[in-house]
Each structure stands twice: as C-alpha cells, then as structure tokens.
C-alpha cells in the first residue's frame, strides 16, 4: 500500500488489521462474535495475517502464550465482547503471572450502549484491570492506531505482560486516519533496562570473593532473549560456579552441562536446594524469590549475601531482602558483569570452589531424582525419561498441564536450549498445555511439539483437539494417566490422612476413541517393555496424537520440600516413614 492520504483513511476494523501487519504479526488466535464482526470482515479481505480459530477463548490466549514464549514475539488474541472477554480472563491472568507478552483485542458494545447492560456487554476493562499489565477502552477511532502500537510496546517492554484493547463496535465501523508505528516515545512508560554500573561493580566484587557461590536463574533470562542465555553460559564458564534455575527458567542453562544442578524449589533437586541453603553468595538472575522456591522464609539461605538482577523494581526486596539489587535487563547486566570481570582480570577462588564442588558432589550422590522402577507397570518418571531419550536429538518443544506430570517433566525431561519449555508456573493453570502446544506448533511448523499432560488437566481444554485437526497441527498429547488428580491426591496423603476427597478421575473417556473422534491418532500403552515402540509410533505419526500412557496410580512426586519446611529439610525418594506424619499443624495451613 502506498502512503498517500487516501489509503491512510480507513475504518477502525481496517486499522486493527493494518496495525497487525505493521507490527509484523503473522498469526492471531481468536473466536468471532457480534461485537468483532467488522474486524473479522477486515481479516477476511487480506492474506498476510493468518487467523487460527480456536474452540474456546481460554484456548486462544494459551495458544498465543505458547506462540509468544517459544518464539520471543508478542502473541495476539482476538475475541468478542461479554462471554468472549470473560472466557479469556484465565489466560490473561496466566500471562500476567508468567510475564508473557500478549495483545488481546476484545470487542465491545457500541459506545452509546456502554453501561446499559446491553446484550453481551461486560465491563471488560474493569474485569481485566487486575489481570493485565495495562488495558485500554478505545473511545474514538482517532486514538486506535496509537493505542495499538502503544499496546505492543507495553506488552514487550520491561517485564512483559498481557495488554487488552477493548474496541467498541461503532469504533470499528468509524473512519479515521491511520498512523503507522513510529518513534513516538510512550508518555510515561520507560522501563529501566541498563543496570546501574556502580551496583554491578559492587556485585562483581562480591562474586569475585565468593567461596560457595550459586547462580539462581529464572524466567527473566528467557524473556530477555537468547543473548541472555548465551551470556549466562559464558559467565558460568568463566567463573566455574554451579547453576540452578526455577521452573520458568529451564533451558536457559544447558541441562547436559556438568555445572548444572537441576531445578530448585519445592520439587527441585537436593543438590540445588542445599547449594541455595549453604551458599555464601547467591546470584539471582531474573528470578523472583517465589514461595515455591524459598520455602520457609526465615530459614532461607541464612548465611548468604544476595545479589538480585530483575527488570521489575518491585520484585527486588519484595519477598527476600537482598544485599545488592540491580534493576535491569538480564542480558545487559550480565554483559557488563562479564566486562568488569575481564577488565579486572578476576580469577575465581579455585581452592574454595574445589571444596564447594566436593560438597555439591556429595549431595548429588543422594540421587534425589531416583525412583524405584518396575517391570510390570510404567512408572511416570520412567515414561518421561524414555520420552526424553527418544526425542532429545530432534527439535523438540514441550508444554505441560499442571500437576505431578508437570513436575516430573521438569525433573526428568532435560532442556539444553531456551524457549523449548512452556509451562504454567505462576498461576498453575490446568488446561494450559494443549492450546499452548498449538501456538508453539504454529510458530515452529517443523518441530516436534509434545504436551506432557495429566488425564484430569487435559479434559479442561480438550476441545482444542478440534483446532489441531482443522489446522493439521501435529501436536502430541502424552498423558501420564494415573487416574487421579495426582498432585491433589499427594497433598491429601500428606495433609489429610489419605482421605482422597474428590481427587479420583472417575468416568474417564476412552482417550484412544476420543483421539479417533477428533481425527487424531490414539495410542495406549501400559507395558514398560512396549513403551519405546509406542513412543516411536507417536513421533513418527504425521498428525496429532493422543497417547494414553497408563502409569502407576499412587506414585508421589519427590523430592519435595514440604510446606513450612526449609531447603535443608527435604523429603527424599528414599524416605521410609509415613509421609502423612511429615508436616506439622502449622505447615498444614499453607498452600
């Protein structure tokens, strides 16, 4: 299109599509309805933006999240007013808690009807104010182009997050002048990305003198981009320090590296948690001292000096008081740290590190991810291990649902690259994995995309199999079917005397027949000896697959820091007692 005055006058609906093109958006996920028909009409008349029709608006948002997290781009969603918007709320909240950049367009009733309880009206900006990074109600078509470009900027800058743009139907029909994205600086929002040089130097001083250091990394490294992951690897190499990561940060540091301690936190490894507990210098890069990580706060890493790098100033000193807080983007800050390290020709304390690694290797010998395998029944851990072994040489992306299977995936599937692991960490949303896998597959058509699922979670957004069929997205749903809401059952065993109130997955569908009904391929396996062949069948099948993997029903996910306990008070797999006796009455009140 030429940039003449004529072509710059267009309807609000056309502006939406044009702005998407100008923002280099190739795919959007959505579901139509009365209040967005003009936008759907504008989409119909062009080819550069492909719309993927989901089967539920929650699915659209999770798909956009998977797309965004696996590609580093902003995910885009389009839904109608009222129920379309309210169905999107869970996904928006999920994206807010996991810092995923999204722009979600919602239709709204015409401006003159707002507030009249019109058909399919809801107060979308009111409802989503608390579950978005920012939101807008567009009252005039003249404001629309600026708001859209601003929304993309806000979604991806600083700590990323979801942004909602609520567009009343009359604004979609009205004509106005379109303005392309330009260098217009946002009026107020300018997140700080360069860390303070003096603070960084102070941090390097502390790091240089460390005797028992640990890198505690998180999702901030992934959000910062591949360069941050590369710099982290360089920093780890140059210092020789051990590295652990949160659930959200897996893949930023390669799991096949000898300096990798495994994930930390509630279901983290013994060596990672004890290194955190006993370290003298903790270097937090892009993690937020979440309660799943810290355990009991007053016993959290009592003897360490703490450095915290975070792009969100409100994360610093929120849960844990730190000695040096650096507000900035991980890649930028690590790069300056490396620069200072080299300029000053610093050498890490080799003697101290040797002792420290000696200690860590002692902890490793506890083999905290160990489990008792079986010849008769598939152990869930074994299933993940085999899935990993048989897919590790491919370009594999993994999403998960929420529960034990999610934690087993985090423990036993290993990631060597960033952006390969998509999971709902902050909100813990069952039903995330299947739609997220659709988004990942759309962003990476040639990749092998696997949703590691539980039989309960998968039913929460099962309808999206229909989307997979329509768009021929060959996602693989690998269900660890233990016939329980396993994580709930485990907590009931721990806290409530093994009274399994409502946590049995009764009346499950026949997943193989269900696959058939959704034009997909179904596989069932219950024999450890046949597992490899069945997994290969899944990988080799050119379309979507539902794999019903029947596993041990009452397996617990260990190791675990029970609620109310400290890092050095873990429940390990070789625990012999009754796990119902481990948590005291105070701990039982926690979640």
């Amino acid at each position: 299109m030429s940039e003449t005055k004529e072509t710059c006058t267009m309807t609000g609906a056309e502006m939406v599509v044009r702005a998407l093109q100008d923002q280099d958006v190739e795919h959007i996920f959505g579901y139509p309805g009365g209040a967005v028909l003009p936008i759907y009409d504008a989409l119909f008349q062009q080819n550069s933006v492909e719309h993927i029709l989901v089967r539920h608006e929650q699915g659209a948002v999770h798909a956009a999240e998977g797309y965004a997290r696996s590609s580093g781009k902003v995910g885009v969603v389009l839904v109608t007013s009222g129920p379309g918007a309210t169905n999107a709320v869970t996904g928006l909240t999920d994206a807010l808690l996991d810092s995923i950049p999204l722009v979600c367009f919602t239709g709204q009733v015409p401006t003159h009807l707002i507030g009249s309880d019109a058909f399919q009206e809801c107060d979308t900006v009111g409802i989503t104010r608390h579950c978005t990074k920012h939101n807008y109600l567009v009252k005039k078509v003249e404001d629309l182009p600026r708001i859209i470009h601003e929304a993309f900027y806000v979604a991806r800058s600083g700590r990323p997050g979801p942004v909602v743009i609520d567009v009343p139907k009359d604004v979609q029909f009205a004509s106005g002048t379109y303005t392309p994205p330009g260098e217009i600086m946002h009026k107020s929002y300018r997140p700080k990305t360069d860390g303070d040089r003096r603070q960084i130097e102070a941090a390097v001083d502390l790091i240089a003198r460390a005797k028992r250091p640990v890198f505690y990394t998180g999702g901030g490294i992934i959000n910062s981009g591949p360069e941050a992951a590369r710099l982290l690897r360089e920093f780890a190499k140059i210092t020789g320090f051990p590295v652990t990561s949160t659930l959200m940060g897996l893949g930023a540091f390669p799991a096949n590296d000898p300096q990798w301690l495994g994930m930390l936190g509630m279901h983290g490894t013994y060596e990672a948690n004890l290194a955190m507990h006993d370290c003298d210098v903790m270097i937090n890069l892009g993690a937020r001292f979440d309660d799943r990580i810290t355990g009991r706060l007053d016993a959290f890493s009592p003897g360490s000096k703490k450095i915290h790098v975070d792009i969100d100033p409100s994360s610093i000193n929120k849960n844990v008081k730190v000695d040096i807080g650096i507000v900035g983007d991980c890649a930028k800050v690590i790069s300056v740290m490396l620069e200072v390290w080299r300029e000053r020709k610093i050498q890490a304390d080799a003697g101290a590190l040797k002792t420290w690694w000696g200690q860590i290797n002692e902890w490793r010998k506890r083999n905290s991810l160990g489990y008792k395998n079986s010849k008769e029944i598939i152990k869930p851990q074994y299933a993940i291990e085999r899935l990993y072994e048989l897919t590790k040489d491919r370009k594999t992306y993994v999403t998960t649902e929420v529960g034990q299977h999610q934690m087993w995936a985090a423990q036993h599937f290993h990631f060597n690259e960033p952006n390969r692991w998509m999971t709902s960490g902050g909100l813990g949303t069952m039903g995330y994995g299947l739609p997220a896998a659709l988004g990942v597959q759309k962003a990476h058509p040639d990749a092998l995309v696997i949703d590691i699922a539980g039989e309960a979670s998968i039913l929460m957004n099962m309808q999206e199999m229909s989307t997979a069929a329509q768009y021929r997205l060959p996602i693989k749903i690998f269900i660890l079917n233990n016939e329980y809401m396993g994580m709930v059952r485990q907590w009931q065993e721990l806290l409530h005397g093994g009274r399994y109130s409502q946590s049995y997955s009764a009346a499950l569908p026949d997943f193989v027949k269900l696959a058939d009904a959704y034009h997909a391929h179904g596989i069932r396996c219950s024999d450890p000896a046949k597992l490899d062949a069945a997994i290969m069948e899944m990988i080799d099948y050119p379309g979507p697959v539902i794999f019903d993997c029947l596993v041990a029903k009452e397996e617990n996910c260990l190791p675990m820091i029970p609620s109310g306990k400290a890092h050095n008070d873990m429940l390990l797999p070789d625990f012999e007692g009754a796990i119902g006796d481990v948590i005291d009455s105070r701990g039982k009140q926690l979640v």
């Binding site: 920012h134 009252k139 929002y189 009991r296 706060l297 100033p313 409100s314 849960n319 609620s563």
Partner: protein
C-alpha cells in the same frame, strides 16, 4: 513482606507515609491506583486527586498510607511500575507541607447555649478556621491544616455540638525551591 511462610518482618513497626504520584489523567486511572491498594492488601489512609497540569493532562495523587517499612517500599515500587504513572515521590523523606480541608458544622449548643456558641467561635479563631456559614443556632467552619490539627479541632467541636464533618484527604508538597 508477605509469604505463605513465616513472617520474618514481624518486628517492624507500622509507619505513615505520604506519596505523591503523577499520572496521565486517563479514564480508569483512579480505579487502577485504588485497585492496586485493595488488590494487594495495602492501606489507604487518605487519597486526594485532581488534574494539576491541564495542558499535559497530568493528575496528581496524594496518597497517605500506613504499613511496615518493607510494605511501604513495595507500595512505592508497585506504583512506579504502573504504565500511566510518570513519577512517584515519597514525601515523607524530606520536609513537606501537608494540608487537609474540613468543613465542620456545629449546632444545637445545648442548654448553656450562648456559652457554647462563644466557645465554638473562640476555638475556631484559635485554630485559624473561617466561619463560612452562620445561623442563630449553627456555624459551619472551614479549617485547613495538617491532619493532626484537623483531628484536634473536630474532637473539640464534638464536645460542643458537632453535627457533621466533610473533609478531604491530604494535599502535600515538598518545601523549598525545587519542583517534582
């Protein structure tokens, strides 16, 4: 600090703090700021807002809040990261002028009518309050002053015949030549 787990901050004492927040005067901005406080369980003691720079559509919030120091620091950081917020200033660190406005209606001066009437007027003069309305058996006083003065004035008036009070939150500004 808040956590599922133990509370290592239990020994901190609660303080009052006044924040000045400069924001874009866009629809919903008051709900956004108020929602931050309710959503995260912070206290608002008082809140005053008005557009102070019409040309740039900037509004200025003066928020008086209370909490332990770590929570107050968290409030400042949370306000600062909001998209329409230009600037957050902690006005409790330096020397500040803080004023509240109260309209105080006093009437029905009891059996010893005239004595109470005189007393009300004397107190008003002592506090520097203006008499903005008077009838044979009532007054409305306008008082502006720091929170503590307004509190004391209202307490004294309740002994005489307080009927009704309307009062604003604080407006605050730092002393000296420097702007925000």
């Amino acid at each position: 600090m808040k956590s599922h787990y133990s509370d290592p901050t239990g020994n901190q004492t609660v303080e009052r703090r006044t924040f000045c927040v400069l924001v874009d005067n866009e629809p919903g901005v008051l709900a956004r700021i108020a929602g931050l406080f309710s959503g995260r369980g912070y206290n608002i003691e008082s809140l005053t807002v008005s557009e102070t720079e019409h040309a740039r559509h900037l509004s200025r919030f003066t928020i008086v809040t209370s909490g332990i120091p770590s929570v107050l620091n968290q409030i400042e950081a949370q306000l600062d990261r909001m998209v329409p917020v230009h600037k957050v200033v902690n006005l409790s660190t330096g020397s500040t002028i803080e004023r509240e406005l109260a309209l105080v209606k006093v009437a029905q001066f009891g059996p010893e009518r005239s004595e109470h009437r005189m007393e009300a007027l004397r107190l008003a003069t002592a506090f520097g309050a203006k008499t903005v309305d008077a009838t044979l058996n009532s007054f409305i006083f306008e008082l502006s002053g720091p929170y503590e003065d307004v509190e004391r004035f209202i307490n004294l008036m309740s002994a005489i015949g307080l009927v009704e009070v309307s009062r604003t939150g604080a407006a605050a500004i730092a002393r000296g030549a420097e702007g925000l």
